[in-house]
Subunit: 441 residues, 4 copies
């Protein structure tokens, strides 16, 4: 199959709805990396190795030397935002990176100005911004986004475009009739159906044009039958939901470890404090609900309480997010885990993670952009389950439960790459359940 992957020639445009802390940290970082001022730590595509063949062969190439990814020097950035600050201004306000580093790439960042956003206050009531598109119908808004994409591609001489959602968490909604078919959805766009959120409009625009779409927030967005079907029709890779950073990252590392040892878990309490725009938006109960559903789903899949009722049948799992301005983007999580061992004796684990939200998220955006572009060139379309590794709440084919165990997710990702390039698989976990992938290969 690797013979059939198109080469990564020409420029790749990465467009992000949302040019806040995460996106600006990504963009400033890539510019600094191009100038050799810093390293892309946390990015598997740039820093990660992959073992090939038997252990004794000692073959551990870097992933970027193994699969044909776009080079960082060929990347062009753009995006939409409800505020009109250019990327330098937005990055300064986000206070994630030090001013000295931002000044070193000031010219590059100032040159990137946000396009006007699709925005609907009813979905994010804690935000206001006036850099927004005005149109009579959601269909017109979708059209405007498609025009933006086409114009950006031409203006920047790009051969390919990918889109990664870096915007805020919208209020909680569930799949309803308008989301069921392409027809009902397009009709909803024309009718301004309230169940069509802004993020869906971006996703629709991208998928319609065959532009890969990755969803970094817990929003429903492209996890609806209409857009999954559209992705197949247009041969577009899609994926989501919600970048797996910080606390959930730790959870999907730790839970498989405890389960490996048949240790029981009675309770898991997770608290977070953060003071950035994300924290402010999540202070509203409607938006937190969306996040909570995404965060809570993790443990059940890993621990399988139905198979292990004595160990996990009584697990009480609670997640809280607290807006706390003094910390800014320096998100901090605190977990208390009540476990029990031999004869039921109880023990406790406390984890205090002083993390940086955007620092953990930025390399994920980069990897998703590069991998989804690779998938497109490899002819893979629809849900990219092999990218579950990056998501809190992986989008899966209907009827399959998502895999949250980060170690199984990693094996799946690595074997997909090996398979693409005609190398022996190190395991055969789950590939045969992904018919789309198999057919694509």
């Amino acid at each position: 199959m690797h013979n059939t992957i198109e080469k990564a020639e020409g420029k790749l445009g990465i467009l992000t709805p949302g040019l806040g802390a995460v996106a600006t940290t990504l963009i400033a970082g890539v510019e600094a990396i191009k100038k050799n001022l810093a390293q892309p730590v946390g990015s598997l595509t740039q820093m990660g190795n992959i073992r090939l063949g038997k252990r004794t062969e000692n073959r551990y190439p870097k992933i970027k030397d193994f699969v044909p990814l776009a080079d960082l020097h060929d990347i062009v950035f753009g995006g939409w935002d409800v505020y009109s600050d250019n990327v330098f201004e937005a990055a300064m306000k986000a206070k994630v990176l030090e001013p000295m580093m931002l000044h070193a790439v000031k010219a590059e960042l100032e040159a990137i100005k946000p396009m006007k956003a699709v925005f609907d206050r009813s979905y994010i009531s804690n935000l206001d911004g006036d850099h927004v598109k005005q149109a009579a119908t959601k269909a017109e808004l979708a059209k405007a986004v498609m025009d933006d994409i086409e114009n950006f591609k031409e203006a920047n001489d790009c051969s390919r475009i990918v889109m990664v959602w870096c915007g805020s968490t919208e209020k909680y909604i569930e799949v309803s009739a308008v989301h069921e078919t392409i027809e009902s959805f397009e009709e909803g766009l024309l009718n301004n159906d309230p169940a069509i959120s802004p993020s869906m409009i971006y996703a629709y625009a991208a998928i319609k044009l065959g532009v890969p779409f990755m969803n970094g927030a817990p929003n429903l967005t492209c996890d609806i039958p209409a857009l999954i079907e559209l992705a197949k029709q247009t041969g577009t890779p899609i994926g989501g939901k919600d970048f797996k950073t910080g606390q959930t990252l730790m959870k999907t590392i730790l839970a498989p470890g405890l389960a490996a040892r048949a240790l029981g878990i009675k309770g898991w309490f997770s608290s977070n404090i953060l003071g950035n725009r994300d924290g402010y938006v999540l202070d509203h109960p409607d938006n937190f609900k969306t996040k909570e559903v995404s965060k809570l789903s993790v443990l059940e899949d890993i621990l399988q309480p139905d198979i292990n009722p004595e160990l996990y049948g009584e697990l009480y799992h609670k997640v809280r997010i607290n807006y706390y301005p003094p910390h800014g983007d320096n998100k901090e999580s605190w977990d208390n885990i009540d476990i029990f061992g031999w004869l039921g004796y109880s023990m406790q684990i406390k984890i205090n993670f002083l993390c940086r939200d955007s620092i953990l998220a930025a390399p994920i955006v980069l990897d998703l952009a590069l991998f989804s572009d690779l998938a497109k060139r490899a002819g893979m379309s629809g849900i990219q389950e092999w990218l579950s590794f990056y998501f809190k709440s992986p989008q899966t084919a209907p009827g399959l439960t998502p895999e949250h165990d980060i170690f199984k997710q990693l094996i799946k990702l690595q074997n997909t790459l090996r398979h693409m390039m005609g190398e022996d698989l190190i395991t055969h976990l789950g590939l045969d359940y992904n018919q789309d992938l198999v057919e694509a290969m």
Copy 2:
């Protein structure tokens, strides 16, 4: 191959050098479990499931229903100790289990009286005890242990015996000439060579009789060419070193997770406080040295700083154990991990594990006893690398680096079981590197 595994008929004798906190917690626990007073949480053999076939087949039998293990009701316990307390008295002093639970199995525990121990103050200077064997030479001591084993087997009508070291940490020594061959070792026994430690005398006695030997301390013990060779000659499964509990367990869970995400690590500081006999012995620098070597080896193998110098080349790793009587057996670990992400920005993880040392160790002893007995019946001899899952510092064939990643260790263990029973492997990790195992099957 599963057709050729001998059945688990008759009684299995589990003999432990050391009848302190760990062994008495195991014994009292098994007796309580037999009476349905408690559950064997933390034991993979008793509580764990194993997935068979494809995910969609939904086959998750309990391990004990899948492979032919000894039944808990067929187990008989015995052991040696430098103190003459019976198991009830020793368990009361250890203060791990509640008096109420110990009283519920008092008769069974009182019936188990320790045999006199092989003891050498020069190896454990913080301990004194007078329930020890007297003999002119180490050869005679080895003979006395073999007699103990034979007598126990007959007196208790056992069909099979396994031995698991549950004693203290000896002072640090390295492999020297006397350990190189069976001949030099046996000559050393006759000459009272000071490089032959008490634990080696137990291991020699067991292996000589074909009794599987598992080493729960970081002592050198059977990790010497002489005893490895002897194990092959006598068809005896052996394994070690050092039960993986508490802090190191967490470390081998967390480090693979961070590495999966290409996050860098600058420093890892690990502190422990505990107040049991183990803590008291480790307060002596000679004994701590042995433990430290075992605990420090873990990260390097998982993180591969040679392949990832930008991420792990500068890692500073420090481990401290502090004797702190107020905590008794309630070991507590505190870890500070300095990581860095995108562009080198630093973050911190703090883990506070309020664990119970013996509660975590007891089910490991049980599993090792049952699995090594299974290995023996399956005709597997020598180092059992598939049991690395249970050890801080897994003993491996010469020339191979040990695998510390607990998730790879688990896959290896599970696939060994699948292979034994003729089921499809879910992965093919590493089996082909273990010629001994493959030939045995």
Copy 3:
């Protein structure tokens, strides 16, 4: 003045509205202490010393040997509850004390059966219970409580009675017209004014009879002009609000320490998890509001941001309580404190307190009962500011700000006792020990 304090002769009845975790832990504890099964740790009246005279005099009598307090053997307990469980049953359900200890005082506990409670679902919507008084008006309910008190006193041959509120947190209310005067309040009782809460009815009944009343919850209760005036008329000591345990205790210890060093504070985030009935009640926003107001008031008084705007002017203070059943009564708090020092450089303090709510509260109830009885015998009436030491939100005379610094509170308490007994007040100055200094001056 100490010549005029009435002696503590005869029995003292301690009546508690609420016979839940706190009250039953107190009662069982006192009974166990009487039998020499345990010690009254945490009780200043029983275990505390007080320094008298100069440092060099070495006079440190126990407080109970210094002031004339009721003896534990002269105490009789009673109370009201919405559940009809006797104290033994209630203590078993509360799961604070070990069954073995409760069984040792089973007969004494079973003998105490709750009187029917005054209850109003609109004040505590998360509780239901049917062991409640029925009456046409709140005036009748107050009368019924007064009858209960009189009957209890006679039946138990008590010479004195005190009442300590150990019930739940009611919904948040503020002072309104009905609370302003004795007349308006008594009219409100007749009219069933909705602004008169159950706790006010108990307080009214007690104060009307001259029975000292101490308020262990953050409820408004006797912190209203009407009841303060009534207390003066009837010569009754009163005090509140909200027992200072756990997190707030730590806060009033730590904040004065940081302020002593002129260290700045940017943020203080306080989270709690607990799983007892108190946690369940506080899961309702109306009730949490009452608690939050009580908990938030603490820092401002200690840090005086108006006088120290550069250090505390920007302080962001947030408190959260989370219901988490796995912990039961074992409340756990986690605090993150963002401080800054020299040149504004930031530092962080994290405090994780694994406490036991009722274990910390029980000795406070005892001390307040004994001290308020002492105050009554000493002829002190109205608000007892010298007992601020025990309260999260001390009730003070109108116009005065409460003192929250626990060290100043302690000096106030001790000097009040010294003053009562005619001893010199202590200032900790020690100038007279420093002859050089004294001479120099």
Copy 4:
């Protein structure tokens, strides 16, 4: 007396043996503060208020406006070090302050070059440095230091000089014969007595000249009869030992708080990790011994186990310092405190303090310099017990136990200032605000 305090006219020279992290952070900070680039947070003399008169008078002047202290603009800095780096270079290497801040005061810092140090490798074996004085006898070294002081005073046109030890911790020694009298000490200087450490030579030189000397390390230094006597003869204020920062600061805040509530303490385990030069020196057991003695003494005085044997008689206290380079000057402490309450039930407190060693120490140096200069002008000589507030192990008059409780230390300091200025001493009793009580009494 305030009429007799000499005015703070002319320049004040602050000389520090040791121009490492602490001293350079102080100097750079003062220079930045003079330029209004930062604030002297953590300095009581600069930021602290003092309450005067009754609470209702509302008089809270800044301390620097209340007592006649030297103005920051009148301060000149100098010092000695074993390395020849100027203060700018040393500050850059110390990595405490950000380069940007250091560059803002670069010229001022570069102008300060260390004088050659008195150094003796046998007292600090982990340090080497060649910027050291050479002389035949310790008497000559003392003379050289005195010359340095005089030269500095003249060259910088100072009216007064104070000296504050900011050097490393020396190896542990106890008082011996040579330290007993001025005569034996001066003879020892001539004889090169090995029991006279470098820090004693500095202290002797200062005190001989009447220059106030404050000791920031746990070294014995001026806590010997010979130098105490000399201080009286020359009218020199002295004080020590060991700046109270970080963990011990927290300990002297928290322990009084727990004792206030009569809560018992079973164990207190304190661990530290730090990676600066101080940590490196303390990695040597001889030097750690000196520090350990200083750190361990704290709890006993506060808790008075002799008076409270049931609560503190069994307390196990352990302190560990671990050199951990990844943290640099960002010292981090972790404390585990095992307390017990009502009926002996146990609870735990964990404190994790992410502090910055030099940021906490620098303002202490400033305050000690200014207050010891004030004491000198006020005619106070010998041990300044009222400055105990700043020390881990306060030097006291023979026969008196030191006061460690930070709240009593603060009252002592404030009342000394009030006494100096003729203000009423404050007792925090507030009886006069409680008319009822007063009338009742």
